[in-house]
């Protein structure tokens, strides 16, 4: 029972972690809380199903559908920066204006999905059908293994990009001092747009994976995951990739334990209560370092 809860929690946690990574990337670069971020999670899942209906309900259809969903979500996200958020930045709008703008974008996407697909729950066919196996007392499905593997690969890839590539160096430079980054020859807007692209792609991918895991699509899946990702990001220490991953796992596991042992009605309440306590006691997050500002 305990072990089973842990495994289920880790699976949900993986999804939160993936969504959180994208969220925290944008926060890291721009200090912008992107409310539209979880919308790509939902949009990705819906688009993938649409593409599968067009291409075929098999593994190939799923793979192509996933790629299509990732590309579409990434492009939309990059465009929102080019056409809206970037403009606000250029005009020197307050950070909170950009935040409200992302709320507007989120409202448009979430409701466009309701418009396009209707608000009833839809089915997401699992094309793999690989079954499950047992580890001791707990049952693990192969789908869970796939999710974990993909998630780990994505995390490694992103860590590599941020730590080891020129693109990543540009990102880090922008996050620390945008003007100086420009002066080094970093093409700031281009890098920010790509960051939006990557962040939304990862979010879309996790939407696809979790949609297939639960075999359903719901119009509230974005809002459900959105505040969790926000919480996970802060819990891990915002702006830190490993922090995002740990934050996501902690929230996922915590949630599944509360649901298993206390009451599923109060599941989210207790998760948030723990979050509040952690943030009050350890403001820099679990992994975040205390930043000493030089005055």
């Amino acid at each position: 029972m305990l072990f089973q809860q842990l495994i289920n929690g880790l699976t949900i946690g993986t999804a939160y972690a993936l969504v959180t990574i994208g969220f925290t990337m944008i926060y890291g670069v721009l200090e912008l809380t992107n409310f539209a971020h979880s919308s790509y999670y939902m949009l990705g899942a819906y688009l993938c199903v649409s593409f599968m209906n067009l291409i075929g309900l098999d593994v190939l259809g799923f793979l192509l559908g996933t790629i299509g969903a990732i590309l579409v979500c990434g492009t939309i996200s990059a465009l929102t920066d080019k056409l809206a958020l970037g403009v606000i930045r250029k005009r020197g709008g307050a950070a909170i204006s950009a935040l409200l703008c992302t709320i507007g974008i989120q409202t448009v996407i979430n409701n466009a999905i309701i418009l396009g697909y209707g608000s009833e729950t839809r089915q997401f066919i699992n094309v793999f059908n690989l079954g499950r196996f047992k580890i001791g007392p707990a049952t693990v499905s192969w789908m869970q293994v796939i999710i974990a593997t993909v998630a780990i690969l994505i995390m490694l890839l992103l860590t590599f990009i941020i730590r080891r590539t020129k693109f990543g160096a540009g990102m880090r430079a922008i996050s620390q001092n945008q003007r100086a980054a420009q002066m080094m020859g970093v093409k700031v807007n281009k890098i920010i747009q790509w960051t939006f692209f990557i962040s939304a792609s990862v979010s879309a991918l996790s939407g696809v994976l979790i949609g297939m895991y639960y075999r359903t699509l719901e119009v509230n899946m974005a809002t459900v995951v959105g505040s969790k990702a926000f919480a996970a990001a802060l819990l891990g220490g915002i702006g830190e990739l490993p922090g995002a991953v740990i934050g996501g796992f902690v929230i996922g596991v915590l949630e599944s334990f509360v649901a298993g042992y206390v009451s599923s009605g109060y599941r989210d309440a207790i998760a948030f209560a723990v979050l509040i306590v952690v943030l009050v006691v350890r403001p820099q997050g679990i992994l975040g370092k205390k930043i000493h500002h030089k005055v």
């Binding site: 809380t33 409310f35 056409l83 809206a84 403009v87 606000i88 005009r91 020197g92 709008g93 307050a94 909170i96 204006s97 950009a98 935040l99 409200l100 703008c101 709320i103 507007g104 974008i105 989120q106 409202t107 448009v108 996407i109 979430n110 409701n111 466009a112 309701i114 418009l115 809002t223 505040s227 926000f230 919480a231 802060l234 915002i238 009451s263 009605g265 109060y266 989210d268 309440a269 948030f272 209560a273 979050l275 509040i276 943030l279 009050v280 403001p283 005055v295």
Partner: protein
């Protein structure tokens, strides 16, 4: 063309800034007289909602605009006020003389306790802490069935009456809401124009500097957080009587976001801006009623377009006090153009 447009806007804003009191007074007269024209039940109800939302936005603006703390949980205090009034009204048949202050007090106590624990946290954490608090309150409202009615909410909250008078008519409700709004605006304005107000601004502008000048940052933050929540509780208590029905779904984190949008859209830190933002975002859903399905999409798109067009909100860039000084200064200059400088200063 564009220049001409921005010039005329500038002139209007200048006029407005110079005659701020007159403008405010005229607005009040209009608000008082409006029911003569807009006299259907529907229109009056929309206007009442505008007042309620304005109370919420103005109080949130005190926290977010004046003090600089972004709250995503204002709806929680709104909901606490509403549930307090609904429970007191249905179980003990108390009227608004008791329920409105009670709503304020309960919301205030909740904010005080939350603030006591968390207000020291950095501002980006407060956003999620208030969000989390809002979710917790909603979940409790949903699950504590015996007390809150769960998802069904609480029905038949008593109609508004005061000292035996029935104030539940469409006109009476509007004027009561307007009165509460004016009460909120004047209380907050009074505070912001006092010494306390200056301390609050100094915290927003530079917390460390304020602290080093002897401003007790923690107490002021706690005070503003509590105070702003109390007015949200007031709005909630009125809301419960107005609709005679409360449900947890009215006080979600999404509602907090709508409230925050009102503040930002109008121009963060500007009282008239906040009210304009509140009125626009209260009317917009009504205006878009005919587009049922497209409504939310258009709503979102309008927010995006407005923010791109005016990144500081509609009035956010204008500091009326500043403008007044500038106008005064330029008038002095033109008057004394030919006189030597000594005469002007001495």
């Amino acid at each position: 063309m564009k220049k001409l447009f921005s010039k005329s806007i500038k002139r209007i804003i200048e006029k407005w800034a110079v005659n701020e009191w007159k403008v405010a007074f005229s607005c009040l007269i209009i608000a008082l007289a409006l029911p003569i024209v807009l006299n259907t039940r529907y229109l009056l109800s929309v206007m009442t909602i505008c007042c309620v939302n304005s109370i919420l936005a103005v109080s949130l603006n005190m926290l977010t605009g004046y003090l600089g703390i972004t709250s995503l949980g204002h709806a929680a205090f709104y909901g606490l006020g509403a549930y307090t009034a609904a429970i007191l009204g249905t179980r003990f048949e108390l009227n608004i003389i008791v329920t409105l202050p009670a709503g304020m007090i309960i919301a205030g106590i909740a904010a005080f306790l939350l603030g006591l624990a968390a207000i020291r946290a950095p501002s980006r954490h407060l956003a999620i802490i208030t969000l989390g608090f809002c979710e917790i309150v909603k979940i409790v409202e949903l699950n504590w069935f015996s007390f809150t009615g769960g998802a069904n909410g609480i029905h038949s909250v008593p109609r508004i009456s005061l000292l035996g008078w029935d104030l539940s008519g469409k006109y009476a409700k509007y004027y009561l809401a307007l009165f509460l709004l004016i009460l909120t605006i004047s209380t907050i304005s009074l505070i912001m124009h006092s010494k306390i107000g200056r301390a609050i601004y100094s915290i927003r502008d530079n917390e460390i500097a304020a602290e080093s000048m002897g401003v007790n940052v923690f107490s002021y933050k706690l005070f503003v957080f509590t105070f702003s929540a109390m007015f949200a509780g007031l709005a909630g208590a009125f809301y419960a009587h107005h609709f005679s029905y409360v449900s947890p779904l009215s006080f979600t984190f999404e509602q907090s976001i709508v409230l925050l949008s009102m503040v930002i859209l109008g121009g963060i830190g500007s009282m008239p801006g906040t009210i304009i933002g509140a009125i626009i975002l209260s009317l917009l859903p009504e205006l878009l009623r005919d587009f049922t399905t497209w409504r939310q999409v258009i709503y979102g798109a309008i927010i995006v377009i407005l923010m791109v067009a005016r990144p500081s909100g509609m009035l956010g860039k204008y500091n009326f006090k500043h403008i007044r000084q500038q106008v005064k200064y330029s008038k002095l200059l033109t008057k004394n153009e030919n006189k030597p400088l000594e005469k002007m200063t001495g």
